[in-house]
Amino acid sequence: MCEDCGCGLSVGVPVSVSAHSHDHVHDHDHPHPHEHAAEHQTIELRHAILEKNDRLAERNRGFFQARGMFVINVLSSPGSGKTTLVAETIRRLGSRLKTAVIVGDLATDNDARRLRETGAPVVQINTGTVCHLEAGMIARALKQLDTTGLELLIIENVGNLVCPASYDLGEHLRVVLHSVTEGEDKPLKYPPMFHSAGAVIISKLDLDRACDFNREAALANIRRIAPNAAIFELSAKTGAGMAPWCDYLTHQAKSSREL
């Protein structure tokens, strides 16, 4: 690099120098000739912007794997029935899987209180104004949990179908809820979220008639965005469809431990 004017390119990972039209004040003398129309330097970065979160998520995943825990990240818009589903799932799993919950909300511990009634250990994360959970928040919440012998960790994310899609928490399975009260086209309106789902649950099935829910259209929309996702149709309130969902979870948790 030229020590006098700094025109050289020995720093970063320079790939090109482009000419530009404005003049530089450049009145010093130095012994070698060079073009003075080239000061802009392009530095290749190729960084994942969420690299820090991704790194922490990998660390979480390693922790979960070492403990033999199966971890699901439950996502949906607000009011789709996540908490009711999580509570009913824990009740029905009973002694089949030792389960704990981490639940995220902007404010209040209402969900944690409801979930504690199941007897499972629950950690509430209040995100303040943050609209999603991040891997680092999960790592901190894990410190408040006794993970000895834990077989299933359910992370109930902040109710939001947009932002949480971008944040890996280190989970093994993403579960996205789509309640019948939301119509049939949620997957088409929120493709990043539904595309990332390993399982999609159509919830509040007991309300389908009241909402004129078109089941075939909803299933077609889910399959269009998430062709590989396992699909469940259930009502946590009446218990309809809960058995296949709980069997699936038990099976997934068992398979994950055998890996």
């Binding site: 290749e44 190729r46 965005i225």
Partner: protein, 115 residues
Amino acid sequence: MHEFSIMQSALHQVLSEATKTGAARIHQIRLRVGVLSGVVPDSLQFAFDTLKTGTAAEGAVLTIEEVPARFWCAACQREFVSPDFFAECPDCHKPSGELRGGRELELSSMEVDHV
């Protein structure tokens, strides 16, 4: 509105790279954003315009390259670019379950000067 924190993180990476390389000013920042990344380019732009004030990137232009969704069709043994984000193969019309691109959220390069 997670674009603000994402832009903040990108800007932080850019500014620390600028300090490391002794750059005086940042003229341009290039990002690659996949259509399935869950991030809205317009919101990133808005966040950038607010966050850059008072930094070495104050005069910088943010250029966002949108990366389309690319899928692999196992039946046709070919990769295809989706015009939207649907996974349907244009030849056999079967949905593909294998995404090969479109979730990128990447800081690709920056243009600086040292004067």
